[in-house]
Symmetry: D2
Subunit: 434 residues, 4 copies
C-alpha cells in the first residue's frame, strides 16, 4: 500500500486557500447579482450630461458592497510600523496580497467595479501610504473618509517637463516657510483629480535639491481646495477621458501653502515612501490587467465562433488557433507570476520581491495589449469602436506600459538584479552545456 | 490502495516541500561533486574514437548516482492500474511530478546528466509505459534491466512519409500471423536507437486500418536484434548527431516477426498508450528546457560583463538590459506554468491537465530558443561554435518545437479547449468591458 | 578609359523623374508656406463649437491649392474604357501612381492636408469609380462637383452584421421595382458620411442573391438626402471621432428608392467595380501611412534627444538605437515596396499588381503601428495624450489593418499566389540548398 | 577617367537593364544546365573521404563557367584610384553593383555556386582590396592568380579575445623590424583558411597602438605558408564545418615575418581599407541571403502542399497562409532595399550609402533566419536534418547576424545617422500629426 500524505503547509500548491475561495465566491456572487446586470445602466448614466461626475449607479452599488462587507479588501493586515499610531481602527478584512490578487482580477473584468468595493487606484495606494506613514491626525482627517469611501484622492508625482522615471529629475519644490511649506511645480497624470469628490492630493517634490539623489524628495498632503492648486486640463488617453474614474489631470501648483504638519514621514523621505507605495499598487494593477485580458480573450472566442468567412466559422481558420493558444498560455503564465509576486510580498516583503514586481509590471500590460489587439482584429471594424469596449480596454492597458515607470526602467531593474548575480563570480564550471 | 490526504488548510504556496528541498539539495550536491568537475572529461571522451559508444565517465557516474540513491526519480508512485501485476517492485523514490520537476530542471543544465540518474528520455517514457501497461513477463524481461540502467530503449512512432502529428496518418502495419505479429514500415526520429545498449524498441503501428480513427493503432515490443530491424541512418540535428545520447535513427522494419505476447495492452489501444505516455515525457522535457534556458541566460550575463565595446562593458548597453529582463521574465513564468502542470498531473491526472501540458509544450521551447539565440548573439562569433555549447543547445531545443507534435498541433488543442468554453454559451452579459 | 552610359529608360532606377521631383517641390513648398503654419489654427478651429463641420482653414487652403494647380493629383491618366463617355474633361494633371506616391506620403504627414488638395479618401476612390464606370449623366451630376471639391461623398460597403471581408456575405438588397431600385440594409464604416457636404453615397448590395457568388452584387448611386437614408450613429475609433474628415457612420437604408439610371455599370458588376476601386485606394493609403510613420520616427528622435535619464540623453540608451534602426529599415523597405506596387499598377495594371498591392496593404499599417507605438513609449505619458498627436496617429493607422479587408484576407491572397507557383510543379531539382 | 552620363529622363524604374537581363539569363541557363543537375554529385563528393578538399565537380564547373565568360562578375568597374597602378588588366565584365545583385541572388540559391563563378567570399573582398589598394607587384603576385581562380585567400580580422566589433579593441601586433614586419596575435573566423588552395592571408593588426583610435591599424599580406602561421582549429557553425568552402579557422600568428613590401596602402590605413572592403561584401552577402530565403520559401510551399493533416493539406491551414505571406512580403521588401543600396553604391559611393548598407546588413539575415525557421517547422522532423538542407541554411544565415559586425553595431550606425538629422534642429513645426 502506498499512502501519500500531502502536507500543504510546506509545498508548492496551486489551490487557493479556503479563505480566498470564500472571498472569491462572495465577490463573484455580488458581481453576478449587482454589477453585470447594471453595465448598461452604468454606460447610460456615464454618457448623460456632464461627464465629470460621480455616476449614480456606482454610488448605489458602493452602499450595497459596503453592507455586504465587500469593502477595502485591498488593505493588507496592519504593518505595525513603530513610527505610526496604530490605534486607528477601520473596516477591512486584512487580506494578504495572495488572497486579494484573485479578487483584483475579478474586478479587472469591469473597469468601474474597483470603485464599488473601494478598491480603486489611486485611492488604494494613497490609503496605504496614510496607513503606513501617516500620523494619527493625518489618519483622522484623510484616511478615515477615504476608507469609508466618502472622498477620493490623487497622487501627484509625474511631471510633464522631465523624464520622471528617474526620480532625481523631479523639479517641483516644497520649501519651508515658517510653519508652512510652499509648493511650486507642475504635475500631470494626476489620476482621479477630476473626480468631484477628490479632496486630498499627495504631492511629491524636492525639499532639498542639494541632498543625495534619493534624499532630496519629500511627500506632502495638499487638500485639493488649497489656493494655488489649479487643474489646467484633463488628459485624454487615446481619445478617452476616463472621466467617471476621475480622469488624469495636469495640475499647476503655484505658491501652494500648507501647514508643516502635512508633511509625510519627514523631509527627504519621499523616495522611500514612493518605493513602498508602488509595490502593492503595481501588483493590483497587474491582476486587474489579467482580468481585462481574460475579458478580451473571451470576447475574441465568442466573436470568432459567431462569424463565418470562406465557408466556415472564423474560429476554424487555424491562424486564430495560434492566437488563442498564445493568449491562453500568456495569461496563465502571467497570472502565476503575479501570484508568486503576491506570495513573496506577503512572506519576504516588498523589497525582496522587487524583482518579481518589476517582472509583472513589464509582463502583464505587454501581454494584455497583445491579446486585446488580437481581439480587436477578431472583431473587425467593431473592434475599434465602443461596441465591445475593446479599443478603450487597449487604451486603458497601453498606459500601464508607461505609468509607474516605463517598461525600460523596470527591465533595467531586472537586468541589474540578474547581472548582479554574476558580477563578482568566478568563471563558471559550465564551459559547455554538455 | 492509494490514499491521498489533502490538508484542507491548502493555500497557494510557492515554497517547495521539505521532501523536494531535500532531494534538490542531494542532487545539487552530487552535481557539484561529480558532474560539473567531469564536464571536460565527458567532452574529451565523447570526442575520442567512435562516437556511437557509451561514454565511460557516464557509466562511472551512473554507479555513483545509483549508490547515492539518486536513481529513477522520474518514476511516479505506482498508478495501481487494475490490469497490471503490481507485485513487481523496483527501486525508485516515487516522487510526484511536482517534486521531480525541479530535479529535471537541474539535470537540464547538463545534457548528459539525465542518463547519470537513469532519468533520460526516451527510457523514462518507455519505463512508464511498461510499468503502467506491461504484463509481469514484459516487466521482468524489459522493465527490470531498464530500471537498473543496464539497457536502453527507443520509441518508434514518427514516420518520414506522413505528417505523423495526425496519428491517423501512420502507415506502419502490425499484422497478426498465427502466434506472431509481423511488422512492416519505416520510422524515424527513433531517439536513442544508436546507443550500443539499446535493446528494446516500442513500436507503434496499425493492426486494423479499418477501425475507427483512434482504434487502429497498437504498440508492440520489438527487441532491437530481431531480424528485419535495420537502422538505415542516424539523423543529424543542425549538424549535431547526439551520438552519446544514442542519436536519432531512421529505422526500416521489414517483415519483423515477434510473438503475440509482445503486444502492449491489446490491439487497438496504441493511441491510448501514446496519450498516457506523452504527458509526463513532455513535462520532463519542459523542465529540462528551463534548465537549459537558465544556463543560456547565465552565460549571456557573464559574457556581457566580460567584454567591452565603445567604452563600457556590453552589459551596460541598455539593449541588453531589455533582453536579459525578457529572458528572466519568461523563464520565471514558464517555470511556474510547468510546476502548475506538474501539480495538476499529480492531483487531477494527466487527462485533465492536458491543456496545461500543451501550453508548456508550446511555451518552453519557444522561450528557450529565443533566450539561447540572444545568448549566441551576446557571444558574437563564439556563440555559434562549440566553445560555449550554445549552438548545440539551440539545436537541442529547436527540435522540441517539433517532436511530440509540432507547436501548431498543441496550439490547436489549446484553442479547442478555449473555444469549447464558449461554443454553446449564451451571449455574455459583458457587452462592454466597462 | 571607362565610360558608363546609364540609360535610365531601361534599368532599375531609384531617382524620381523630373516631373515627380517638380511636383514634390511644389507640394512641399505649399505645405511649408500654407499648411504647417496653420496646424494650430486647424486644431483650434476643429475644437471650437460643433465638431461635425467643415473646418474654415481647410476651405481657405483648398482655394489656394486649387489656384496653385495642386489639385486632384490622385487621378490617373484617363483609362479610355470603351464603355464610358470619355468626352468629359476635368482638371487634373494625370500623374502616374509612381509620381503620385511621394505626394501622398507628404500629405500623410498632416492628416487634413489630403482634403486641401482634393485628394482625400473616400472621395478619391469614388471619383475614380465615376470616372471609370459612370455614364455621362452620372459624371455631370456627381463627378464634376467632386472634382471641383464642392461636395463630398461616401462609400457604403461594410456591414455590421456579417464578416464583410468575404463579399459574398453582404446582405443589403437592391431590388428592382419598375423604373426604380429599392434598397434595404444596414452599413457601417461609411467614412465621410458625417461631413456636412457629403451629398452622394455609392452603395454596394445584392441585386440577385441567387447568382454566382461574385455576380450577385451591384453598386448604385444614392444621394444622401434620399428618404430612408438614416445615419444611426457616428463610430468612434479608439475614442476619436475623425469629425473633421466626416467621421465613420452607421447608416440604415430603409426602402430607399432611386431611379434605375443610378446603377453603376450594370447589375451583377458590383464586385468588379469594388476590385477596380480598391487597388489605387490601398496604395494611396499606404503611402500616406508611410508619411505618418516618418512623422512618428521624427518625433521619437527629437524626444529622445531632448530628455535625460540616468545621466545621459535617452537617445544614448542603446535600446532606443535598436528601435530607431528598425523603424528606419522598415520605413525604407516599405516605401520601396509601395513604389514598386505603384510602378506595376502603372505598367502592367492593377490586376497583375494585386500581389504587390496586398503586400503593402499588410506591411504598411503593421510597420506604422509598431513605429508609432515605439514613439508613444518614447514620449512617456505624453505619448498617449493629444500633445504629440501620436495616440490619434496610432488609432488612425490601426484601423488600416482592418479596413478594405483585414490583414488575414490579404495574407490569404498572397499565400495563394505563392502556393499557386508550386501547386502543379514537379519536385524541384534543389533537394538541398547546397 | 570615368564618365557617367545620367540620362535626365531618369525616373524610378523597377525593370532591370538590358545588360542585367542578359547576364541573368546567361547565369540561369548555366545553373540549369550545369549546376542544378550536379547537386547530388556535389553532395556525394563532399561526403567522400577527407572533408578539407577541393570538391572535384566544383573544379570542373569552374572551367566551364570561365569558358562561358561567367567569371568575376562581382568585380566593379575600375575605381581609378590615383595611388594604384591601373595598367593591370584582368578578365571581368565590370558589372555595376546593381547589375551584379540579381546574379548574387541566383548564386545564393546554391551555396557552392559562388565559387564556380569565382565570386565567393572572402576572395571577392580580398580581390577588391588588392585591386583598389595593392601595388603592381602585389597584384602580379596575388591578384592575378585569385582572379584566375587558381588560388584562394582569407581575411584575418576578428579576434577571439576581444569584442572585435569595436575595431579599436584589436590586439594583434604588426611591428616593424628592419625590412620586415613581425606579426603576433590570434585570429578566428578566418573563413576559407581551411581550403587546400588558400595561399594568401590579409591580416589586420596594430602597427601603432599609441595613434588615434582609427589610425592604429594596418593591413598586411601574409602567405599562408609563412613560418609562424598556425591553424589551431577549424570552427564549427552549429555543428557544420563548411569544409568545402574552406571553413572558418582559428589562426595563431607567432613571430610571423614578412617583407615590408607586403604592407597594404600604408601604416595606419587598415581601418580605411576595412571600411572600403566591407561595403560591397555586405551587399553581396545580402543578395545571396535573399536567394537562400527564396529557396526556403519555395521548399516550405512545396512541403505544405504535399502533406495532409486533419483532413486537408497543411497549406490549407490558414496559419501557414500568414507565414507564407509574411515571408513573401519580407523578401520583396528586402530585395528592393538591397537593390537601392547597390544603386547608391554605384551612383553616390559606398560612403554615402553606408546607411543603406547597414540597413540591409541587419534586415537580410534577420528576415532569412525567420523564413528558414518557418520552413524548418513546415518540414517537421525533416526540417532539422540534412534532407532538405534547411538546418544548414539556418546556420549559414545565422552567422550573418554576427559576422562583419553584429546587428547591434549596425543598428547603432543607423540610429546615429537618424538622430543626427535632428540633433541640432529647432523644435519642428509639426507639434501634432494633424
Amino acid at each position: 500500500m502506498i499512502k501519500i500524505i500531502i502536507n500543504r503547509e510546506a509545498r508548492v500548491n496551486f489551490e487557493p486557500s479556503e479563505r480566498s475561495r470564500e472571498w472569491r465566491a462572495r465577490l463573484e456572487a455580488f458581481m453576478a447579482e449587482h454589477v453585470y446586470p447594471n453595465l448598461e445602466t452604468y454606460h447610460r448614466q456615464e454618457a448623460e450630461g456632464d461627464r465629470w461626475k460621480a455616476v449614480p449607479i456606482v454610488d448605489e452599488l458602493k452602499k450595497k458592497a459596503k453592507a455586504a462587507g465587500l469593502w477595502n479588501m485591498f488593505m493588507p493586515p496592519s504593518h505595525g510600523h513603530a513610527h505610526v499610531d496604530d490605534t486607528f481602527v477601520f473596516d477591512h478584512p486584512g487580506l494578504s496580497n495572495l488572497d486579494y490578487a484573485p479578487l483584483a482580477e475579478i474586478m479587472g473584468r469591469v473597469g468601474f467595479s474597483s470603485e464599488v468595493f473601494n478598491c480603486s487606484a489611486p485611492d488604494t495606494g494613497n490609503m496605504e501610504v496614510l496607513q503606513r506613514y501617516g500620523t494619527r491626525a493625518q489618519k483622522d482627517e484623510w484616511l478615515k473618509p477615504l476608507m469609508e469611501g466618502a472622498i477620493r484622492s490623487a497622487f501627484l508625482m509625474t511631471e510633464p517637463a522631465v523624464a520622471s522615471s528617474d526620480a532625481s529629475n523631479i523639479e517641483t519644490r516644497i520649501e519651508r516657510d515658517g510653519d508652512h511649506y510652499v509648493i511650486n511645480g507642475r504635475k500631470w497624470w494626476s489620476s482621479g483629480v477630476g473626480h468631484p469628490r477628490c479632496e486630498i492630493l499627495i504631492v511629491m517634490g524636492k525639499t532639498d535639491p542639494s541632498a543625495r539623489a534619493y534624499s532630496q524628495q519629500s511627500m506632502i498632503l495638499v487638500p485639493t481646495k488649497t489656493p494655488g492648486v489649479k487643474i489646467e486640463r484633463m488628459l485624454p488617453v487615446f481619445g478617452f477621458d476616463h472621466a467617471s474614474h476621475g480622469g488624469h489631470g495636469q495640475v499647476l501648483l503655484e505658491n501652494v501653502r500648507v501647514p508643516v504638519e502635512n508633511l509625510l514621514l519627514g523631509e527627504g523621505r519621499g523616495f522611500e515612501i514612493a518605493q513602498g507605495r508602488l509595490g502593492p499598487g503595481r501588483i493590483h494593477h497587474c491582476m486587474r490587467i489579467i482580468g481585462a485580458a481574460e475579458v478580451a480573450l473571451e470576447k475574441m472566442c465568442k466573436r470568432l465562433l459567431s462569424r463565418k468567412a470562406f465557408g466556415k466559422t472564423i474560429a476554424e481558420h487555424s491562424v486564430w488557433e495560434q492566437r488563442i493558444a498564445e493568449a491562453r498560455i500568456d495569461i496563465e503564465m502571467c497570472r502565476l507570476l503575479c501570484l508568486k509576486a503576491a506570495y513573496m510580498m506577503d512572506t519576504v516583503g516588498n523589497k525582496s520581491a522587487r524583482g518579481e514586481i518589476a517582472m509583472i509590471k513589464v509582463a502583464a500590460p505587454r501581454i494584455a495589449c497583445r491579446i486585446i489587439d488580437d481581439a480587436i482584429q477578431a472583431h473587425g471594424g467593431g473592434g475599434v469602436t465602443e461596441d465591445f469596449g475593446l479599443a478603450q480596454l487597449y487604451a486603458d492597458n497601453r498606459i500601464h506600459r508607461i505609468t509607474d515607470g516605463p517598461d525600460e526602467v523596470h527591465a533595467r531593474t531586472i537586468a541589474r538584479l540578474e547581472l548582479g548575480k554574476h558580477a563578482a563570480s568566478d568563471p563558471h564550471p559550465l564551459r559547455k552545456a554538455g
